[in-house]
């Protein structure tokens, strides 16, 4: 396989919005009333997955043609916060990169390709706020 490690997407800007946090907190059954009453609530731990709304096709670190999206499974997802998680009202600048790629033999034969994709979220001044780390797996046959 061609080595995609180090491939980067274009930076994109994300506004952390109160209404989106409220919607996300409701969808994930949060009970903390601060999501509804605080004018600047702290984002829930997996909220940055909604960065998809702000990304552009050029933001992806993986060339759409590099992998077979019909065979992609989400293996792991991690968020690391270098201080308090983002709050409503913050502007973040995000950028994706391919941290690592590797292969494993599948249990039913064939080769599975693993891609570890990191999205860095920084303040406009460049301070690192959070990292999202996704491990996606391209299975050797149709995902099941």
């Amino acid at each position: 396989m061609s080595d995609l490690t180090g491939a980067r997407g274009e930076p994109f800007t994300m506004e952390v919005e109160r209404g989106k946090i409220r919607e996300f907190a409701r969808a994930t059954k949060a009970r903390d009333g601060a999501y509804l009453t605080d004018p600047h609530p702290v984002a829930p731990p997996t909220f940055l997955s909604s960065a998809a709304f702000w990304a552009t096709p050029e933001s992806s670190a993986l060339d759409p043609g590099a992998i077979n999206w019909a065979r992609i499974l989400h293996g792991e997802q991690e968020y690391v916060f270098h201080g308090p998680p983002p709050r409503a009202g913050q502007t973040l600048v995000a950028r994706q990169r391919v941290e690592r790629t590797y292969e494993k033999q599948g249990r039913r034969g064939g080769t599975m390709r693993f891609f570890v994709i990191v999205t860095e979220f920084r303040t406009p001044d460049g301070e690192l706020v959070a990292e999202g780390r996704s491990t996606v797996i391209e299975t050797s046959q149709a995902a099941s």
């Binding site: 949060a30 903390d32 829930p44 997955s49 998809a52 997802q77 916060f81 099941s144």
Partner: protein, 143 residues
Amino acid sequence: MTSQVAFDPAAVDVGTAIPDFVDSPSTRTDYVRYQGASGDMNPIHHDEEYARAAGFPSVFAVGMLAAGILGTYLADLFGAENVRRFKVQFREQSWPGDAITYGGQVVAVRDGEADLELHATRQTGGVHLLGWATVLLPPAGGS
């Protein structure tokens, strides 16, 4: 939803369990609400015909939904501002009607922070996802 159980993050130690949260049986509406909130509109989680054509008996849960519920539950217990790391590994699929139990325990405590191991488990006992987290703890004796 279950009633709120008293939980004191200032009193946790290695081995302290977080109270189980037994969610109501999951619905397609839960999936759709999460997909709208997150922006992941993969039809395999809401379009019955699409899911069957792909070889599945029905739509199935978005893994990030349970990850999100586990994450907000952790934030409800320790304070959203205190979460420093949250990771999940996706295991077996979850299906409409599943009642998922969210729980876990503290596995390490050091310098005002704690590591937890977490899980989201189906009513069958099958593990839907495993989780790991690091949270800041309030000062001992604080309120």
